[in-house]
């Protein structure tokens, strides 16, 4: 089916991008579902590997795009009660080292701003790759990040900082 190579070659091709994929999934779905969603995305990527065109984007942007779709599908098929349960568990015992105020503020950003923050800061992509994933220009990513930081300062009451 796939003309580009063997499963082993696919695994080696994907390997450098697994960390970014996993981080992105961890920002999008509950921790217990992270690995499931990543592996679903990998199967999907394997099935579509022959359609990957290097001239149209980097592998990591292509893979995160597929992963984003799987995360969206995953969220829509989760019963509400499961989501509530996971949320309540996570808020029950906060990790002391976490900047919880910041995490809550990030959750209060617009969808686009949060996506930019997640991809650039938490996933660790550079501006160009973040732009590829978001389907916009690098300058737009920079502007979105600038607006997101301003919004976070506002939400956290750090306007004077």
């Amino acid at each position: 089916m796939t003309e580009r190579g063997t499963p082993g070659e696919f695994a080696r091709w994907v390997e450098p991008h697994l960390t970014a994929m996993t981080r992105y999934a961890a920002r999008q779905v509950a921790p217990a579902d992270r690995d499931d969603v990543v592996q679903e995305a990998l199967i999907r990527a394997w099935q579509r590997w022959s359609t990957y065109d290097a001239s149209r984007g980097t592998p990591v942007a292509w893979l995160v795009g597929i992963l984003s779709d799987r995360c969206r599908r995953h969220r829509t098929r989760q019963p509400a009660s499961v989501v509530e349960l996971v949320d309540s568990v996570e808020s029950a015992v906060p990790a002391p080292a976490h900047d919880l105020d910041l995490e809550r503020a990030v959750a209060g950003l617009s969808r686009r701003q949060r996506l930019a923050v997640d991809l650039y800061y938490f996933v660790g992509l550079d501006v160009a790759t973040t732009a590829e994933v978001m389907g916009c220009a690098p300058g737009t990513v920079k502007a979105t990040l600038h607006q997101a930081r301003a919004r976070l300062r506002n939400l956290l009451g750090d306007d004077d900082a």
Partner: protein
Amino acid sequence: MPDLDPMDERLSAASRRWQAEQPPPPTVPVDRLDESLPRRRVPWRPFVATAAAVLVVVGGASIISGLGGGTPSPTTDPSTVATSHTTPDRGSGATVVPWRDLPAGHPDVRRGVDSHVVTPYDRVSATGHISGRAHPGDLLRFVAVLESSTTLRLDPCPDYNIAFGRFAYWTHRLNCEAVPFHDAQGRPVLPAFQNIRFEMRVRVPDVRGKQKVLWTLDGPQQMPGFYGLVHVTAP
């Protein structure tokens, strides 16, 4: 001159901490790549459903459930577990410091410096991986890895905390007597930029659902630690 944005620094610091505590990525499912994606969730861990006994290992955590024989009963205290072992480090081949049921020592390690409270453990980082499925009464085992940017004397031996879900919380002392590193006086130490892997055991309390299990080193203001989710189901 770059325009330093405090929010940029705060986001960078928070994301670095978040990244450091993430469990390792899953492997590429090479043997399942040709499976068609189901309409509903894929049972990626089918072995879990049938693992009413023996051992479930997901990442660095393992859960021992009812095996009979030397297996502890759900009401048995972890200190009476019959399955003693020294877990090999799967990565480097180094041994893991075995778990012992040691009461918390509550060492007074805090001192004031320039109006700040500091402790010897302030430069310690703790990592580990906890995940899996369990029943109430099962024994959850995982490994806590401590690392420090400075050589740290483990005398007095620090305590650690384990929170299981909302209500279960324990504090114990690390098994410093079994640490493989010592100073000239024979006291246990954590050498700079080396790590020590401590085996951890905790009895799964009588709860249900996805429970957050949090491990922290006791003492520092910003307690280093890590957490994972354990799905507790009825026996």
